[in-house]
């Protein structure tokens, strides 16, 4: 069982979360050609080591998070809100803390 430090709720068991998917994907515009969508939806690397992934704190704050996790060791290197605006706010705050 892995434990995830949610930026909003603190460290919680993974049973409170659901796994989303590959967080390194930038989804194409809705009107992008189907080939681009094909690549975004179906092509995935099978990473052994650190990978970016999305998790949803579904039984918590319901925020989507971007987590850098090592698929070999389950070590979690970083967690940030998936919403880039919120993520930027967190970074501003952590800089202010220093």
């Amino acid at each position: 069982m892995i434990r995830i430090p949610c930026p909003f709720c603190g460290t919680r068991d993974h049973s409170e979360f659901t796994y989303g998917g590959d967080a390194s994907i930038t989804y194409p515009a809705l009107d992008a050609p189907k080939e681009e969508w094909h690549d975004a939806v179906f092509l995935r690397d099978n990473i052994c080591g650190p990978q970016l992934e999305t998790w949803h704190h579904v039984h918590g704050c319901r925020m989507w998070l971007v987590i850098e996790r090592d698929t070999m060791t389950h070590e979690i290197m970083s967690v940030r809100p998936a919403n880039p605006k919120l993520s930027a706010l967190f970074e501003d705050n952590s800089e202010a803390d220093q």
Binding site: R3, L30, V41, H56, M63, H74, A82
Partner: protein, 983 residues
Amino acid sequence: MTARRLDHGGRINRAHPLSFTFDGNTFRGYKGDTLASALMANNETVLGRSFKYHRPRGIMSAGVEESGAIVTVGRDASREPNVKAPMQELYEGLSAEGQNAWPNVRFDLGAINGLFSRFFAAGFYYKTFMGLPPFEWGHGTRLWMLYEKLIRKAAGMGSASREPDPDCYDHVHAFCDVLVVGSGPAGLTAALTAAEAGRDVILVEQDFELGGDTLSDPSREIERAQLVDALAKAGVRIMPRTTAFGLYDHGTAGLLERVTDHVADPADQLPRQRFWTVRSDATILATGALERSIAFDNNDRPGVMTAAAARSYLNRFGVLPGQKIVIATNNDSVHHTAVALASAGADVTLADIRKHGASDLPADIELREGVAPLKVHGRSGVEAVAFASASGNNWSAAGQTDCDLLLVSGGWSPVVNLSSHRGAKPAWNAELACFLPGLTNEPIYHAGSAAGIWEYEACKASGEWAATAALGEATAPPQPGGWSTPIKPLYEVRLPEAKTKAFVDFQHDVTGDDVRLAQQEGFVSVEHLKRYTTLGMATDQGKMGNVIGLALMADALGKDIPDAGTTRFRPPYTPVSIGALAGRNVGHHFKPLRRTPLHDWNLKHGATMTEAGPWHRPWYFAKTGEVIDEAYVREASTVRKTVGICDVSSLGKIAVQGPDAAEFLNRVYSNGFAKLPIGKARYGIMLRDDGFVMDDGTTWRLGETEFLMTTTTTNAGKVMVFMEELLQTRWPDLKVHVSSVSDEWAAVSVAGPKARATIAACLAEGEYISNEALPFMGVRKITLANGIPGLIARISFSGELAYELYVPAGHGAAMMDLLWPEAERQGGCLYGLEALGTLRIEKGHVTGAELDGRVTIDDAGLGKMASTKKPFIGSALRQRPDLLRHDRPQLVGIFPKNPGQTFKGGAILCADGEVSGFGEGWITGVTHSPMFGHWIGIGFISGGHTAWAGKTVIASDLTRSEDVEVEIVSPHMYDPEGVKMHG
């Protein structure tokens, strides 16, 4: 073996006698005994029969590594098989039985297997039965499955009760700074050091007393008691009878606490066991070491046990396990044992494979140096032991000695299981002849003999070191070792070319010959060896024998032990009952149950409920004497003739709010929502990214920036999660907020020609729902006659004139009390899911049964709804060529050729005369249609209904019923123009 209880000594309470039974005979023990020590005190030696050969087996250890005295405890529904007798605390009235023997362990007919033992060598099962004629894998496999059943019966383990488990189990969660596993000198010191530094400490001990090895050492008792006392004062949470069975990611540990397994008459409120999930910042493993055996002929006879076990039975339980004792060793650890046994009155011979030259043993202990046990004589007990001495690479016979007990110490294996769970690979230490814990970056620290530290004071020091390390103060770990004369590695003793029964894995009857045979047959990887011979795969997981097996494997391969490799340990360290895993999540609590706000009202009005996912929903409302088939047909026809009311509260409801709400919905739904006027509802279909249908439902525009989305009952959660993902990850610029309001509303559908009249009579003065005031797909806020505010939408799932009425959940029953008498006056009825199904199948409306994740919007016959003017989620990938093929299965209606015939949901649809494979399509729902007067169905078939017009199709249900001839029709079977719902 002639064991007896001494009249003094040990930690048992002689003032507190207990009686218990084994195989029906009554015996006496004392409080503080284990089942094993009490049986030994009564000189019961044969306690079980072995797995394959049914050889007699007795007590081999005094702990968790036991692989001989494995018994069944308890009666009837509470029977627990495969209990290790040394781990079972004795209680008044305990009832135990030997296992794997018929009629009993002393006279076992299954022992005849031993005469055919050469047939049971490694891989025997696979070779013999898989290869039986006709030598084909398919047939051979079937035969194997048949034979396997017979073999399992003959070579079984204990059998569990077939009755439901009468006990209950709890799940408990806990947090701490430092988790200490094991309460020997290292564990006690570690826990005390951490606690005195102000840390929150949990100390776990699988035994019922704290102290580990010191429990068998009376000279340490005062110090042990002081340490335990200090722990309690320091606020350590002490958990005896608790096994840390697994370590998991991020400092999580799984513990099993045995709450009442030692209690004769447990209090009702107590669970039998508790399953703990503990999260700790640091973990200290003071798990000790287990003494190994040595492989030699008949090393499994009752009366052969580990040397440490004898010390424990003598010093802890006051039982002298034998009178004439031979101790065979290759290391220093047996010294105390020999002395203690001799001073308790036994006649002791110490056979040490090492040659010391000088001995500091008392004169009454006979020392034989340079010899090792070669063979045990005696069938169901030890009568004599033959020795061998090593000459070069071979062994030669070196006389024999009469004895009734043979104690063996083949070295010590630190318990590295828990850190191995974390992927720390144990490292072979040739000097100490054992695996030491592997390296890990996690805050896991080993202390005491778990780290290969053998001496008492050094163990305590290492406990202190581990605690300091766990507090974050890194210092160099203490060095392992501590014996004055080095251990001489010794794994097997046999004369050249001798045929022996020298066991490596006692519980699974794996011998040294089996290991060599496996190697000869090409199993050179230790993981393959393990599976082929089943070495280490019994309930003891090879705690006594794995290292020997590995050493013999390495020898056969001509490699060193570290090059042969070791297998990775996996949880659980000791077995965990299924009941503990399940906890309270059994019976009604197996899954969550959801009730609608109208639940009680429905029950009061005669609803029979059914499960729809987690929901309980009304299935039908039977009148007196009616069965389900009569009830739903009546309900469906009443809706078509007058009016019916159906609880639809379980539908998902999501508030979509914000300045960009319309734009958001326009992207999510495949059809247009940007221009939906205020006060209007629209049916929408949303797709997944990959172009398949995700869900459908109506969305109501309540204001410029406010929408209420409804989803299917099943997909409410999924749709909500997806919309949150879109808003947070892909479209953070959209000013939209979504929130689930499913539980806020009680909702009913009022359907039928009299629906308007029924509702109109229940409205507050001045509220109108005429066709002009509330046209088809109109939505309005409304107040009921009793003042309840709500929403009304003119939406039809049944194809009739119909409305959905929403009121705040708490007012649901009051709304029904208003509506229902009026509906009754109109000749109406309450209807449930079954009639709802009838009405929607007649109309060809899709539900989750059709939208199963493999269906495109075109397959569902709704392709025309998808906008061509705007892009939306799934719009790109629904254009993939294969999804546009015209011969894809498409939604159709199904009529029987002979109107008298019925057919079933789940049947496959095949062309006439071609019933095979997956067929051309399938049936997703069937019902008796009161409008048509016969059974109808809905489903999918290649090319849709036009491709099959006029052709006979077979509905084939291979497992339940006969083939039925059907014809394929348009899915819009009833009122295809929709005249009625617009009326």
